[in-house]
Amino acid sequence: MKIKQDKFTTILHIFAYLLIGGFAISCLVPFLLMISASFSNETMINQTGIGLLPKGFTIAAYELIFKVPKMILGSYVVTIVMTVFGTVIGLFLIAMTGYCLQRRDFPFRNVISFFIYFTTLFSAGLAPTYLWITKYLHLKGSYLAVFLQLLMTPWLIVLMKNFAKSVPFEITESGKIDGAGDFKIFTALILPMLKPALATIGLFLALGYWNEWYNSMLYLSSSSSIKYYPLQYYLYRIITQAAALKNSLAGSNVNPGTIPTQSLKMATAVIATGPIILLYPFVQKYFISGITIGAVKG
């Protein structure tokens, strides 16, 4: 039987297209402004403001960056190395822990789960943590202070636990019957079955590393031993510190008075964010499965 469309339905459908479309556009506009400003002429930005389309189209800002690309390339290398190693190592440890913590023949699963989960209920706070990491672990000015702290989160372990629950226990048991040890069962039998979970959690980890700026600001900023900062923190410095902007152009022979400050900031932002914007449409489905499986116990 065909269901007749009444006029309410039509009205609501029009409203749906308008509101969804409008919200999607509002999500896009700030990005368009940034990209347009990065291609705009500095004088025109200052006189007439930035617009949705470039004003006095120029690629001067990008030319300047690629003339002396050392700083931003260094940041890219730091971020890529951290992201790759952090994701691989973190993912393996999270998967291993998540698998163990849902095994019903593991008598300590609840104790350990609570031990990990408790850190989200109560924490020492920033000041004691900062003191511990700088004064006692001596990690100030070390990439390790950033790298290690992003390796795992209780939420990702819980998420992995939930994924691992869907792997039938009989698989573990069949491994046991064949005489395999627990680690062997995990690497040979379980890990291959967790592929969708690995993709989802790996991408959350990778996003965390790629967007990292907070720990860098805390532990790397005032250290002279660090030359190249993680990308987003590098961007933060370019945006907020005139000295960092000038420093990024060292060796370009550009006259300090003619630096196109605003368009240069925008171009740096575009370069630092570009890979994510280009990649995320292809991987978003993994994030969606993350939130639908692990939303509640976040």
């Binding site: 039987m1 269901i3 009444d6 309410f8 459908h13 969804i20 479309g21 999607a24 999500c27 896009l28 700030p30 402004l33 940034m34 200052n46 403001g49 930035i50 617009g51 440890l93 999270i94 291993m96 822990t97 593991f106 300590f108 350990i112 031990f115 989960y117 850190t119 209920l121 109560f122 706070g125 920033l126 000041a127 004691p128 943590t129 900062y130 003191l131 511990w132 990491i133 702290q149 209780p154 680690f183 700026w213 907070y214 805390l218 987003q232 945006i239 907020t240 925008m266 932002a269 630092a272 964010t273 914007i277 995320y280 449409p281 939130i291 639908t292 939303a295 509640v296 116990k297 976040g298």
Partner: protein
């Protein structure tokens, strides 16, 4: 009877035997356990700083014990009240407006029948979730700044008088809430959208055959079936009511714009500034400890309610 006895026997295994039998599994969990000990449990004794007049040279336990003086100071200066109020009000706005908007978007997205439109708009709404807080700050600055911001241009085009947003504290609650909604709505609506997609289509068709129009469908089928999701998500969000999104506030407001602080300071930004700009470890620790304890009580409370509603959803 026999099965019960076997179970009892397993449970009664001595601890040493249990440990030995599961040694591989324990070793496999060890890296994670060590991680949480080193980065989360080890700093905990340091919360004692909150009760001392800590100085760096004497260390945590060498500094003088001052009792609750740090808390009294924060209470008397009004900081504690201001931070509590701001943090809770911002979170309430995020939770209520955020969920309402997410539900609206999910329901309307479900009504969109054109799949290309649906896919593209969903992808675009998801975009802000993927960018760093630093970039959010820059994108907001592009719009809001007086000199060349997009807002100034629009106000001028409409014939109004542009104003300096970064000198107008009262504008900031709106700006911060909008930024949060902008970044989280696309992502947050997925949970609700998934719940709507899970509704039995036959039920909806049956209602339509019976003459229910689209509003009746939303009112009597979709919203009631979202109710459990809404309640659970709401209660969990309430559990985090003392926690703030440092990155969002810090990057939107900037590190030194003191005019805005009465309206924009939350616990996290205050603690960060007290620590990194003023090196005041005792105050920063005291506020941090206050936040942790307050948050702990709230989580316990909200989890207790969740437990009563549905044990499966409870955190513990």
């Amino acid at each position: 009877m026999e099965i019960k006895n076997v179970k009892k026997a397993v449970n009664k295994k001595p601890l040493g035997k249990k440990l030995w039998d599961s040694k591989t599994l324990i070793i496999m969990c060890l890296p994670a356990i060590l991680f949480f000990i080193v980065f989360f449990y080890c700093p905990m004794p340091g919360a004692y700083i909150a009760f001392t007049n800590f100085n760096y040279k004497q260390g945590i336990f060498g500094s003088d014990f001052v009792g609750l003086d740090n808390f009294k100071f924060l209470l008397n200066s009004g900081s504690l009240w201001m931070l509590t109020r701001n943090t809770i009000l911002y979170n309430l706005a995020f939770i209520v407006l955020g969920n309402v908007l997410q539900i609206i978007v999910a329901i309307l997205l479900n009504e969109v029948k054109n799949n290309v439109f649906k896919k593209i708009s969903q992808t675009i709404m998801f975009l802000p979730y993927f960018i760093s807080a630093v970039l959010v700050g820059l994108l907001a600055f592009n719009i809001l700044n007086y000199e060349f911001g997009f807002l100034t241009t629009i106000i001028q085009k409409l014939g109004g008088e542009p104003f300096s947003v970064y000198q107008t504290p009262k504008a900031w609650p709106v700006i911060i809430v909008l930024a949060q909604l902008w970044q989280q709505t696309g992502y947050g609506s997925i949970v609700y959208f998934a719940a709507i997609c899970g509704i039995d289509q036959e039920m909806i068709e049956a209602a339509q055959v019976d003459g229910a129009n689209v509003f009746a469908k939303i009112r009597y089928i979709i919203l009631p079936s979202l109710k459990p999701t809404i309640i659970i998500l709401f209660l969990f969000a309430i559990g985090g009511i003392m926690k703030g999104n440092f990155g969002l506030f810090y990057n939107l407001v900037g590190s030194s714009n003191a005019t805005l602080w009465p309206y924009t300071d939350i616990v996290e930004t205050y603690v960060y500034r007290t620590l990194m700009n003023n090196f005041n470890f005792p105050s920063a620790s005291a506020v941090g400890l206050y936040q942790s304890l307050f948050g702990f009580v709230v989580v316990m409370f909200s989890n207790g309610i969740v437990r009563r509603i549905d044990k499966d959803y409870a955190l513990f």
